[in-house]
């Protein structure tokens, strides 16, 4: 039941963005990936979700290899992500955004749609109910009819979370879900992440906000320069000399 990354390597031209990265994400855990800018956090996310083809290594979920699959096929296996920059369907209503996220829950096939099969109407209204429940969960029910791009930034990030939840993740990869949010919104998101985990979803988080990382995570993986430099419980990571060095720089040699 784990998401396992083994010897993952990603190169951009001659530059090694990730090198020999190995870690497990325990089912039902909240695992955070930290590291200074350029450490390879986003690259790791892109490789796991199929947006990047790794130069080497294996990524498996429940023993089944994900490497080489297209992003949509990986989503179909229950591994769903959000993006670092706000990513919604801007011209659509908030509800339509979530309905689009529900794509895999729908079953309507092309010919059935053309024939206007009666069961499709029931399926559609079921999806609308599901979308309403998800919007209720993230606290955006009152914004249902509004255009996604007209929402304030923090709420757009919540729309993004709602879209990801609609895809029924078993592993949810969240990329800086609280970036750019107000204090109140940040608290809401942390609460939501805990609730999502309580529903049995494994959460893998990239986050810069150390207070949040240390407060919410079961396990923290620290990357630097494309390699895993430490892995363990939040308290151990916080005290880890390599992690401190990566963030603050090496202590100067005594003269």
């Amino acid at each position: 039941m784990t998401l396992a990354v083994r010897d993952l390597a990603v190169r951009f031209g001659g530059v090694a963005a990730l090198e020999a990265v190995t870690f497990d994400v325990r089912p039902g855990s909240i695992t955070s990936v930290i590291g200074p800018n350029g450490a390879g956090k986003t690259t790791a996310f892109n490789a796991i979700t199929g947006y990047l083809r790794p130069a080497g290594g294996r990524i498996t979920y429940e023993g089944v290899p994900l490497t080489g699959l297209r992003p949509s096929a990986i989503a179909r296996r229950g591994i769903v992500r959000t993006f670092q920059r706000t990513s919604v369907f801007p011209a659509l209503s908030v509800e339509a955004n979530v309905l689009t996220g529900l794509h895999l829950r729908g079953t309507a096939r092309f010919l059935e749609v053309l024939a206007g099969r009666r069961r499709l109407a029931a399926e559609e209204s079921g999806l609308v109910t599901d979308a309403a429940a998800i919007l209720e969960f993230v606290g955006l029910a009152h914004r249902r009819r509004e255009k996604a791009s007209s929402l304030p930034y923090g709420e757009q990030r919540l729309v993004e979370l709602a879209i990801a939840l609609a895809a029924r993740p078993r592993v949810l990869l969240l990329e800086e879900p609280r970036a750019g949010m107000t204090g109140a919104e940040k608290t809401i998101v942390s609460g939501l992440i805990r609730k999502i985990r309580e529903q049995g979803v494994t959460v893998l988080l990239v986050e810069h906000d150390m207070r949040m990382v240390m407060g919410i995570s079961d396990t923290v993986i620290a990357l630097n320069g494309g390699r895993v430099i430490a892995e363990g419980a939040p308290a151990a990571i916080q005290a880890h000399p390599d992690v401190i060095r990566a963030y603050l720089g090496a202590p100067r040699d005594p003269a």
Partner: protein, 311 residues
């Protein structure tokens, strides 16, 4: 569009031959209808998936030639020839969809333009089959249960049925998860993939349906004008379709039809009112004004006025 307005328009369309006394006016209505089918077809790709096909005349022409050749040389009757025209155009759409698998935006545009160019050259040079630039005269008029649909009134209703079918296909697709997948590709492709929308599958599907519908338009055109020549592949046809879709409102259901009626009737009306040079000038000015003041098209502007902005 409210329900009442929709019914009113349908009633007007059904009774139109009673109001239009002259054969010329009915001719304009038929051409508007054929272009309506083409505009609906282009809108599926351009309006919903956001991919611009600048070779759409190719699918139209393939439909026209298939139908003409099968009825003339194969002595098929109209209906199976129509079905074959739709199928072959759809197959061409599949090919283009597969070819442009990894290509989006400008590359997709280039592939479609090149495809139309190649097909057009074939129609000019494969003289044994297509009769080259001389074209294929004498395409038979369709028959229905032994009745000839030769009269303009009868043909008008045939075209109207073609529009109704095309509109129904578009409406049902757009309101389903398939249509949502199309729009998701237009709005944000990486996000669409992240929730499991198979990009390739839906782009190819949109291309096939769109091309098949253009093939329907081509067949209707061939059996109406009774003559098919390489002119059906002219870039002008594609441009006309694009103008109709953009002016009417891309990504809306009614927009392409509004655009098709406007940009078929308008040039004809101008033709009566002014000399050729002035016509082109007026046409150009109108286009610029439309793009300037209604950049999203007529139908979205009307919807916004009525306060129903969000689809």
């Amino acid at each position: 569009m409210t329900r009442a307005a929709g019914w009113l328009l349908a009633a007007a369309a059904l009774t139109l031959p009673l109001w239009l006394s002259s054969a010329y006016h009915l001719h304009v209505a038929i051409m508007a209808g054929i272009f309506g089918v083409l505009a609906l077809s282009l809108n599926l790709l351009l309006g919903f998936t956001g991919q611009l096909s600048l070779g759409h005349a190719a699918f139209f022409g393939i439909g026209a030639y298939t139908s003409a050749l099968l009825t003339l040389k194969g002595e098929w009757s109209f209906w199976p020839a129509l079905a074959a025209a739709v199928a072959l155009a759809g197959a061409a759409g599949w090919l283009i969809g597969r070819l442009s698998l990894k290509l989006r935006g400008a590359y997709f545009v280039l592939v479609t333009i090149s495809f139309a160019g190649v097909i057009s050259l074939v129609s000019v040079n494969w003289i044994e089959l297509t009769n080259g630039p001389l074209g294929l005269p004498g395409v038979p008029a369709p028959e229905l249960f032994g009745w000839s649909l030769r009269s303009k009134t009868a043909y008008y209703y045939l075209v109207l049925a073609g529009i109704a079918l095309s509109y129904l296909v578009c409406a049902r697709l757009v309101k389903s998860r398939i249509g949502r997948a199309f729009v998701a590709l237009r709005e944000n492709e990486p996000l669409a993939e992240s929730v499991g929308v198979d990009v390739t599958h839906y782009l190819v599907l949109a291309a096939v349906v769109s091309a098949a519908m253009a093939g329907l338009g081509g067949s209707l055109y061939a059996h109406y004008t009774r003559f098919v020549s390489p002119e059906v592949f002219l870039f002008t046809y594609t441009v006309t379709m694009v103008v109709m879709v953009v002016a009417g409102g891309k990504g809306t259901l009614a927009g392409p039809l509004v655009g098709a009626v406007l940009f078929t009737v308008l040039p004809e009306a101008l033709r009566a009112a002014a000399s050729w040079q002035w016509q082109m000038l007026a046409y150009g000015v109108l286009l610029v004004l439309l793009v300037f003041f209604l950049p999203r098209g007529i139908v979205p502007a009307v919807q916004a006025l009525r306060g129903r902005d969000v689809s």
